[in-house]
Amino acid sequence: MALIVISVVSVLLCGLTALLCYLYVKRTYDAIDMVFDSMMAGKYDNLSETAKESRLSKLTHKAVRILKTSTMDIEKTRQEKEIIQRYISDMAHQMKTPLSSIAMYTDLLLEGNITEIERQEFLSRIKTGTEKLQWMMDCLVKISRLEAGVIELNPVPAKIKKTISDSINTVYMEASRKNISVKTAEFEDISLLHDRKWTSEAITNILDNAIKYSPPDSEIYISVETLPVYTKIIITDNGIGIYPDELNSIFKRFYRGRNAKDTDGVGLGLYLANLILQKQGGYIYADSRPGQYTTFSIFLQNCKK
């Protein structure tokens, strides 16, 4: 008798457990299904289930997160494309000025009827124009490749001294022409994570600028300071300086400072430098007092010990 009761009860209990398990699993699947449905319908913003202390809520949150990440990637690609397009149109616009001046001077030369002095003058103007175009073309290639991610910077541990001296060598001629001396403070030659070729390019651009906007016979100082995570390369000149309200803008494409109008330039050097630094996990910022000094600080990551 008792045996029968026990077995009946246990069968019932088993059945009940199985039923409950089934219901539980079904409910869970239904809930997951619903979550996926609303995500497929693109209504995932309205899923309030993502802030509850339950597994389902966590699952929903993660699913939404995955979806958003992928949309963000798509968005990013779209933005990059847009940037390039804008860049190209900017470029085209910027090219118009040198091209038209080249065209004008070429026309004047072709007309003849000019003095030797004038001819020399026009030719050198054409040369400047072409150089500018040349420079722009160079930048265009670099920037478009960098922006589009065609070129991947390859930051590897490398000694920084060589990089800096490469840059100084590049601008040496220019500097000596203005009798500007580039002085480097004593520093320890440490390894930094950087792509030497591109970093050198960035530093060169900054040095170029410094030389361009510095009076003749002045000095440019380079010093290196190591922080816990970054190493800071400081480049200071005693040139015309930048107005404080422009400090944020100088790294923009084709931006020229208000007091830089008298100097040749296209406004791509600092833009490129910033881009290069960013691409390798570093950053750059400027500090200046007009008429006194300008300091560019370049931050490169230290090598992990």
Partner: protein
């Protein structure tokens, strides 16, 4: 399905515990103390209950609930099969032992028990069982006290015991001499209750030889499955067993443990438990609350990062639970050890311990104590946990310890004018300290209240203990130096004249004898008339109920107790309520006194007609003896239970001994009170002891012995009460130290600021000590005013229970306790400040940011 994030909570709990060692110590101590105290209380309570239960069974001499007389074998088999019967044992009377002169006055029978009866029902009610149950025909097992009476002081197994027994069916009822061999002995307690009635146990073989079986001369005793349904089951048994005419079912009369005493004890113990939970709760709550307040940044930060309120609650309570894991076992272990010492002490206050005491180690004590301690801890953790959970991240960001505006930026010392601050601090540091105390009113209140409560309880307990004057107690409870009571008078036995004239003469000749009062007691019947006793009868029937107590019944059975006393006994009566008694007339036997608290009921009674009757044991009927009725006028009233005499249907009547002697030939003397010269007190006591010892029909109370007992009791009270008050004081002081030290730790940054603006360390220290002194002063003022009032109030309440208590303020203990408080109030800030200044000023200033 729950999101499983227990692991990280566990980790935070463990780390939090690790970083709060001092707090843990306080809480663990609190938990352990609570557990210890609750377990001790439970243990005492359980032990009292078990001791009482044991007391009961030992006095009954059996565990059985009921007995069925003269059961047949078939009935016994049937009994064993009944579902509500747990055990069945049988036993039977074999013969009666004839007393030798040496044995004196006792009723011994030879008895046989079967194995179940002996092992399961009887043996548990005996102690010190040595040897085995008689197997051979000539073997016997004898209670120790009987052996002693027989003159056997060092019993040995196998020794020869000669006995003379008789039985009406054996040897034509003539006595038979037989030498038995002792197979064992035991301590029995039955005779204490029954007045020297006990069994000598014999073997089955011997029983059979005499032709005695359960069916002829015995009974089957049964244990039911539910001790509360004894009478119900007894009725069932009658029908289930088909009992014959001459058989009946007798429930074992439960030795009446005073239910209200137990109830009161339980009530008192539960009050103590609640009190303990309260103090434990206060301590734990306080420590935790402070800890949580101090960790506001921590909890706010956790919440910012994404710890939900529920998780934070778990973090707080989880810590408490972990501390419980340490605290409770420590407390339990301590309680286990303490119970060996404390429980017997406590028991000796409660019960007379003739039947021995039991220390209960019932798991209920320890499980209960653990549960209650856990409850206390969780209660204590509840509010702090809620607070922690409710902390908003913003609060945490803004929190800087105390509600005092502290400049966030570092103040440079030279910018401030040090002189001004100096003069402020220098001139009135005690004022500054006073203001500091009440800056956080709640904290100040908690500190003061907890220490005040501890101190006041301490004072109360010490007052109560010191006020218990033992001599006073003895004098108020015992009217004479030595009191002897005849136990046979009460308890439904046949009264014996234990104090015959030769006995009294013997006492009168003792050296140092001063006076002797006799209280005699007999049964009487009063003439009942509706006019005289109608009102009383109505009240009696209403109060004590019972059918068959109708007026007709009362008319014939209006019997009661007649007590003879000496006139001196009346001296102690209080006449303030009027109605004085003419003592001389009483002494001359001209008046009788009615024992009542409501004299109105007897307004119409002018004269009593007293018929002497004799009490016969068996039927409890009071048969009239030949004797003439006596008419005595009523001359006044004495309180109910005067001289501790009870009452029967008719009111108890007091007359003089002289009159008593004239009514009865030789009235049974119930009680004699002896007064002796002080210097002979001990000597007389010794002599009387020798005269009456081992006679369980006489009980003795003496001032000398009472004092002795009380002295022990007082020491025990001191230890227990002192222990409790010490623990309370300890809890209070712990609490105080905790609050004080936290108060300083929390303000370390502020103190650093003070130092920064030019307050020297010496000045800071002075200020802190002033703070402590302020606390001490406030607390002590409270203790001496409100605390004293409470103490006096409690003492007066206590006085109602114990009239003998004399108020005496415990100056020395209170003085010592006050000193301790002062010391703590001064040392704690000093010590805390020292740990604070271990870190540099700048570090401390910076801490505000972290």
């Amino acid at each position: 399905m729950k999101n499983n994030n227990k692991a990280v909570i566990k980790k935070i709990i463990n780390r939090s515990l690790k970083s709060n060692k001092k707090r843990n110590f306080f809480i663990t101590t609190a938990i352990a103390l609570t557990t210890l105290l609750i377990a001790s209380v439970f243990s005492i309570g359980m032990s009292i209950m078990e001791t009482m239960k044991m007391h009961e069974t030992r006095l009954m001499g059996t565990l059985a609930h009921a007995a069925i007389t003269r059961p047949t074998d078939i009935q016994v088999e049937k009994l064993k099969k009944l579902s509500y019967v747990k055990e069945v044992g049988t036993g039977n009377y074999v013969a009666t032992v004839k007393n030798t002169p040496q044995m004196g006055d006792m009723s011994l029978t030879l008895h046989y028990f079967d194995t179940t009866e002996w092992e399961n029902l009887r043996a548990p009610a005996y102690t010190n069982i040595v040897g085995t149950y008689p197997q051979k025909e000539n073997e016997i097992m004898v209670p120790l006290w009987v052996l002693e009476k027989m003159g056997v002081d060092n019993p040995k197994i196998g020794m020869e015991i000669p006995l003379t027994y008789h039985d009406k069916n054996v040897n034509d009822g003539l006595p038979v001499d037989k030498i038995f061999s002792l197979s064992g002995w035991f301590t029995s307690y039955m005779h204490i209750r029954s007045g020297n009635i006990d069994f000598i146990l014999v073997s089955e073989e011997f029983s059979k030889r005499l032709g005695k079986t359960a069916e002829t001369d015995g009974a089957a005793s049964v244990v039911f499955d539910n001790s509360k349904k004894v009478s119900e089951y007894c009725d069932l048994l009658v029908s289930d067993l088909n009992l014959s005419e001459n058989q009946n079912v007798k429930p074992v009369p439960v030795y009446n443990v005073d239910a209200s005493t137990i109830k009161n004890s339980i009530l008192a113990l539960s009050c103590i438990v609640i009190f303990l939970i309260l103090t434990g709760y206060l301590l734990i709550y306080n420590v935790l609350y402070i800890s949580v307040s101090r960790d506001i940044r921590f909890y706010g930060l956790l919440k910012t990062i994404g710890t939900t309120p529920r998780q934070i609650k778990r973090i707080v309570t989880g810590q408490i639970l972990k501390l419980c894991i340490i605290g409770i076992p420590v407390g339990e272990t301590a309680a286990f050890l303490v119970s060996f010492a404390a429980v017997p002490m406590a028991l000796s206050i409660y019960e007379d311990t003739k039947t021995g005491t039991v220390i209960s180690f019932s798991p209920i004590i320890y499980i209960g104590a653990a549960l209650f301690a856990l409850l206390t801890a969780l209660l204590g953790a509840f509010k702090p946990a809620k607070k922690a959970a409710g902390i908003t991240p913003i609060e945490a960001v803004k929190y800087i310890g105390v509600k005092l505006k502290i400049k966030k930026r570092m103040v440079r010392p030279e910018r401030i004018y040090p002189g001004r601050i100096f003069s402020f601090a220098n001139g009135k540091p005690f004022k500054m300290a006073f203001r500091n105390i009440f800056r956080d009113g709640k904290r100040a209140a908690i500190v003061i209240i907890s220490l005040f409560l501890g101190m006041t309880t301490f004072t109360c307990v010490t007052t109560l203990i010191t006020s218990m004057d033992t001599d006073n107690y003895v004098d108020s409870y015992l009217e004479s130096d030595i009191v002897l009571i005849n136990n046979t008078v009460s308890g439904g036995l046949e009264p014996k004249q234990k104090f015959d004239s030769s006995f009294i003469e013997k006492i009168k000749t003792l050296s140092g004898f001063e006076s002797l009062r006799i209280t005699s007691r007999e049964w009487m019947r009063l003439d009942y008339t509706q006019k005289d006793f109608g009102k009383y009868a109505d009240m009696y029937i209403k109060k004590y109920g019972g059918e068959g107590l109708g007026e007709d019944y009362l008319k014939d059975n209006f019997s009661g107790i007649l007590v003879g006393i000496d006139k001196e006994a009346l001296a102690s009566l209080d006449y303030s309520s009027g109605n004085p008694i003419d003592i001389d007339a009483f002494d001359r036997g001209e008046i009788a006194l009615i024992s009542t608290d409501t004299p109105e009921l007897f307004e119409n009674v002018d004269e009593l007609t007293i018929y002497p009757i004799k009490n016969t044991d068996e039927t409890k009927m009071h048969k009239e003896t030949e004797g003439k009725p006596v008419k005595v006028p009523v001359g006044g009233y004495v309180p109910l239970f005067f001289e501790r005499v009870g009452f029967s249907a008719a009111p108890t009547v007091f007359v003089s001994n002289a009159l008593m002697d004239s009514i009865y030939e030789e009235p049974v003397i119930y009680k004699i009170c002896i007064d002796v010269a002080k210097e002979y007190e001990k000597q007389t006591l010794e002599t009387i002891k020798q005269l009456t010892d081992k006679d369980y029909e006489i009980s003795r109370r003496s001032k000398a012995e009472a004092r002795e007992e009380l002295r022990e009791g007082k020491i025990i009270m001191y230890i227990l009460g002192g222990g409790i008050s010490l623990i309370l004081a300890f809890v209070g002081i712990l609490n105080f130290i905790n609050v004080m030290s936290v108060g300083i730790t929390v303000r370390r940054q502020e103190l650093a600021n003070l130092e920064c603006v030019g307050m020297s360390r010496r000045q800071v220290r002075k200020m802190l000590i002033y703070e402590g002194l302020w606390y001490a002063t406030l607390i002590l003022i409270l203790v001496f005013t409100a605390g004293s009032a409470v103490t006096v109030g409690i003492f007066n309440l206590f006085r109602k229970q114990a009239t003998y208590a004399i108020f005496s303020y415990p100056f020395i203990p209170v003085f010592l306790a006050s000193l301790t408080i002062l010391a703590v109030c001064i040392i704690t800030p000093e010590k805390m400040y020292r740990t604070v200044i271990k870190s540099s000023l700048v570090e401390r200033l910076r801490e505000a940011e972290y």
